[in-house]
Amino acid sequence: MWLRCCKPITRLKQRQHALNSKALCVRPLHTGHARLTYGHYEGLYPGHIHTTHLQKALLAVGSGVAALQNPYRHDMVAVLGETTGHLALINLRDRMRNDPEGYLVLTERPKIRLSTLDLEAMASLPDGSFGREYLRFLEDNSVTPDSRAEVKFVDDEELAYVMLRYREVHDLLHTLLGMPTNMLGEVAVKWFEAAQTGLPMCALGALLGPLRLNASRLQSLLTPLGPWALRSGWRARCVLSVFYERRWEQDLEDLRRELNIEPPPVGLTKKKNT
């Protein structure tokens, strides 16, 4: 009886040790100059950490609890997304591949960073253009595109990029949907994303987020915000397939029409939630 229990455990240990030794063999020993990088194992991409299924399960549960307890722990929301989103990521990647612009995004791998954005050029764009509105959104809500957590637990390099792109597009979605970054706006965006991407983390956030809203905001979520977000999410084209970096000059309304997103219902202020 003990042997039966021990075998899978020893197999697990052996697999872990095999992974460790394999990773060590891959990395050449550097002598002669001190490297201060904390790259422990060479994973499939920078920042990748190998995890077993058990670890992914524990991470999913733990990060879920931590994110519920403290919604400001964005790293926990990120980990929850990575550990539960495998099938949804495959689905998203296939949708991107089937779309010509999405395929371009997958091959060119653009990244939205402060260093890659030309802020002055964007500020000089006319009001109502996508770039100008995005910049306005960043300023009004005091956020920066560099605050995205890096992907750690996705075990495929391309899917890791899809996850990263999803996180980067999240901010752009706020602009496209016209939602601020307070709790109500975030929940509305989560409903849109849940309908669009099918990521379990978005679905969980969409279900449990409203629990933290007070009565009046819950009312405005249920009508008309929520149904609008869901409808737009279902009907819209895959938002990850759009090459946003080449569309800063495009008019925002025009972009919304192209993506099949209904304009937001009126009445959401842009001040931050306390």
Partner: protein, 326 residues
């Protein structure tokens, strides 16, 4: 006769080793010096060529010190919470057992190396104060009802034994900061001091302390033998060296359960609670790389300690090693 010859030989060996080490460290700028000289002059060939382990990875000795510093800088804020989560609170029992084995008397001087957040030092002060209270109570009970003259005399004389003092020494400033904050919130004002220092090169005089402890710190030291020799140096004759450290679990069933728990659960806890997977991966790997109970006992004996013994706590998950300087 044989014993004293052996002791003499051991002392000679120790002295010669110490001379070698001190000239070596002067010439080649060992990791202790690194914290005082500017970084440009720090890297000598010898420190770089000698390799050691950082978890399951092989790195140069100079790099290990840096990376260990970074690990503890990252985990300092959540160190106590993580200890409770990982050991399910049992680390408190281990530390209490250390104190009971130590049985410090009022007036003792403790040096707690790698003592960072101060767990051992706080327990030491509590224990000693409790002993003092007990002694006072015993004295009061044993003496007969004092006359007015006698009791007025006690008001003028000072407290009999000198106060016990604890020094917490750690190489990492962040850990000491957390410890100081804890002391402030506990309202401890006297008997405690916080010193930044390297276990391989302690900033204290010879023959200074009654008790030297290092709890869960010695496996992070780059050169353990050097730390042991420093411990011998700063202890008074008759002083005691005590070390709590993770060690080998002897029972194979428990060992595999422990391994599974270490490698599967602890990094996950690190990620969820502290947001740092890699530091806790290093923790569980460094435990595997540390020598087992018998080997460590031999290392302590080689450093010159006498009457070295160890006891296993929690079936070998933790071992308490103790030795005396004579």
């Amino acid at each position: 006769m044989a014993a004293s010859v052996r002791l003499l030989a051991r002392q000679l060996a120790r002295l010669s080793r110490r001379n070698v080490f001190s000239t070596f460290s002067n010439a080649s700028c060992g990791s202790g010096c690194c914290w005082r000289t500017p970084p440009g002059r720090c890297f000598s060939e010898a420190a770089e060529d000698r390799n050691t382990h950082f978890g399951f990875e092989t790195v140069s000795e100079a790099e290990k010190a840096k990376r260990v510093y970074k690990v503890f800088e990252n985990v300092a804020q959540k160190y106590d919470v993580m200890n409770d989560a990982m050991s399910l609170g049992i680390h408190r029992l281990w530390k209490d057992i250390l104190l009971h084995a130590m049985h410090p008397q009022p007036g003792a001087r403790l040096l707690d190396v790698a003592g960072g957040t101060g767990d051992i030092a706080f327990r030491f002060l509590d224990y000693v104060h409790y002993q003092q209270e007990r002694q006072k109570l015993r004295a009061a009970r044993s003496s007969q009802t004092p006359s007015w003259q006698d009791s007025s005399d006690t008001y003028t004389t000072d407290v009999g034994p000198r106060e016990a003092k604890a020094v917490v020494c750690d190489i990492n400033k962040e850990m000491l900061k957390v410890g100081k904050q804890k002391a402030d919130s506990m309202g401890i004002t006297s008997g405690l001091s916080w010193v930044v220092g390297d276990a391989e090169e302690l900033p204290f005089d010879d023959d200074h302390f009654d008790i030297y402890t290092i709890a869960f710190g010695i496996r992070n030291v780059t050169r353990i033998n050097q730390a042991l020799q420093e411990a011998l140096r700063v202890l008074k004759p008759g002083g005691r060296f005590m070390c709590l450290e993770f060690s080998k679990v002897t029972n194979p069933v428990l060992a595999s359960l422990y391994d599974t728990y270490s490698f599967q659960v602890i990094p996950v806890l690190g990620e969820v609670i502290a947001g740092d997977w890699k530091s806790y991966q290093y923790l569980v790997e460094s435990i595997r790389k540390f020598p087992d109970q018998e080997e460590f006992k031999a290392m302590i004996e080689d450093a010159g300690f006498c009457s070295v013994q160890y006891s296993n706590l929690s079936a070998g998950v933790v071992a308490l090693h103790s030795g005396f300087k004579l």
